[in-house]
Symmetry: D3
Subunit: 151 residues, 6 copies
């Protein structure tokens, strides 16, 4: 159980309970507009300040998909050359727990919770991740499954 | 069980088994670069043509997060004004089944598989979705949980 | 004369006087920067806060071309799969009536004002559109001519 | 009647018949994706290679709104500091004459066709513009009305 | 020694001491996010408002590379068709002197300080440039070497 | 003299001769368009396929400023949380040696060539960098000066 400074280790060098903490990123209005643009999802909750002000959160919030996108980049910052990563398998139990507002700064903390050897060359690593805002509140949680090289 | 032309119905007007089919979108090199940029995830599998040529798929492929982002936009096209949508709760069983290559055209098909009333005003709709490429192959599948107005 | 929830009808199912109202979109500083970038139009009125403060509107305003671009996306939200649209023919009487400032939220309202059959398979639909801000002020008006399938 | 190297002259120094020719710009797949993203207009004719191949032009084409956006940037290249421009008034007779395909290179040629003094300080300049592709074909034509300083 | 309104002259028509002044551009939060995205440089000083608030400048600042990128666009505004430019050779003595904060408006002033004929058709022009903010403070200085046509 | 896997060390832990090698990145047409857009530099050599085909390199090439921007992102991949970086001071001897064409894949190699203590808390690190394409050719070289924490 180690605090990892990079996730770019071979499968066999990771252990259950290894943890990671990423840098932070401020979620800007520009990010939300860019995600609406790239995805094509212009739901008024994210892109119409008047409608959002009258809605459940009182202001525009980040798309869930943007939060996930940002989590992948925060992870990548811990990967360097990423030579041990083969493929992104999937995600389970993705939950958007609190709204992410314009100006919030989020970082990622994670823990290795699954290590399944697949064959002699490859293994699947499951990391439980939480995205945390500047007040320490968890805004999203998820489990990512990634295919790694073994050695 | 209806083929829906919009997802923008109140919770109480949706039924288990209702289906939807979206327009298609061609996934371009520009989309992959934009997603790498916005997310910050420059894993060589997505952004280094030389490394990707030597990797498991033989070419650069779309990020899983991009596939999900696109699915939200394809869904939005079926929403019009989106007046019945309150919040995106989460996703389960997200699986990236086949690679999405540059130039692939994907669309979304879905089925309402869960309808849970939350209180008198709101309910959670679960839609099982598949992203399908131009050859009919399923590239990703997932279950999305969204909070709707009831009436 | 119907309030349309989608514009994606065959030519022969539309009538003069049919109306439409779109969702809204907040025009952000990021949108103006993105439009300057994509178009290459960096006129100081749109991109230099100091020069714009000394100019006729007292602040940076959105490009006319951005207002038109946004109108096409607001329209698309009313199209769903867009299976009846063949081509965008042109525009007449495009007028930028009031400035659109950073933070304004605009929506589109329209009325079918022209229906010209072109041949047995195709017809030209003219829609008079107004872009309206959060205070109910018309910021731009235009007439769009689009080629539709007939049946 | 002069071939102008800049459009950034005071109203009173322009003459009917003055002409201009801009640099060229290649319209890329990335431009079309960016315009779909920024505008929110994902009509399959522009963004779905499979649907577009089966459509009237046999391939994806640029949005009309993108062609107009590009025209404003090509114009801006002839403006330098743009100190004489006060506001963009509107457009008339905008016509999308031929499709613009991915990889086409377009430039703008124009002619001053209207000069209306508005008051002692300002005048409206009307420029008839054509966007021309690499084969000399006119892809779009329009008339732009812009408010200029007089002296 | 002339105040140039365009840099697009043949090498032999430029003189040592010729000067230039560009339009201004406001550096927005969106620009910094876009540059982080395009470059892949998410150093917290530029992208994490919490970390930057605790850092040497007390707030997020623009990347040095963004300042340089903007300088090339401000220059391009003085080039029109750019028919005399052959290639960008390099830069010397690039110094980031003061921070550029979100909302600062910068312009470029330059002076031709070197003219080296390379052969009968081409020459290298060296321009000493300063980027200046709205308070008259120099934020960056550099020397650019560009290959020009001679006649 | 070590091959560094991260640049994120305190000043006093770096040594002259320490080297670094980054991941690669394919420079796409989308990147060149995005850089033209963000910078405002639409010089035909980068953005007009017809003009570039007739020019010195026979095809569009990447902007020098884009190459530098990419170098900063490749560096950032070696930084992780970047906790030891205080500010980017400047660059010397920036040279664009060979053209970077669309589709080229470049990576960065560097060597620490200067270590100047500034005071008890801070020091300036100079890294000589080369950007190298898929054929091993150096496309650009430069020296970057960065302010680091000492301990």
């Amino acid at each position: 159980m180690t605090q990892l400074t990079t996730l770019d280790h071979p499968f066999d060098e990771l252990s259950l309970g290894d943890t990671l903490v990423s840098r932070g990123r401020t979620v800007t209005e520009a990010d939300i507009v860019s995600f609406a643009a790239l995805s094509g999802d212009w739901t008024p909750l994210h892109t119409d300040a008047v409608a959002a002000a009258a809605g459940p959160f009182g202001a525009r919030i980040a798309h869930g998909g943007l939060t996930i996108a940002i989590s992948t980049g925060l992870e990548f910052s811990l990967l360097g050359e990423a030579v041990n990563i083969l493929a992104f398998y999937g995600m389970d139990r993705v939950r958007f727990v609190k709204p992410v507002f314009i100006g919030d700064t989020i970082h990622l903390r994670g823990e290795v919770i699954g290590l399944e050897a697949k064959d002699e060359k490859r293994g699947v690593v499951t990391v439980r991740e939480e995205l945390v805002n500047q007040d320490g509140g968890v805004v999203a949680s998820l489990e990512k499954r990634t295919l790694y090289r073994r050695g």
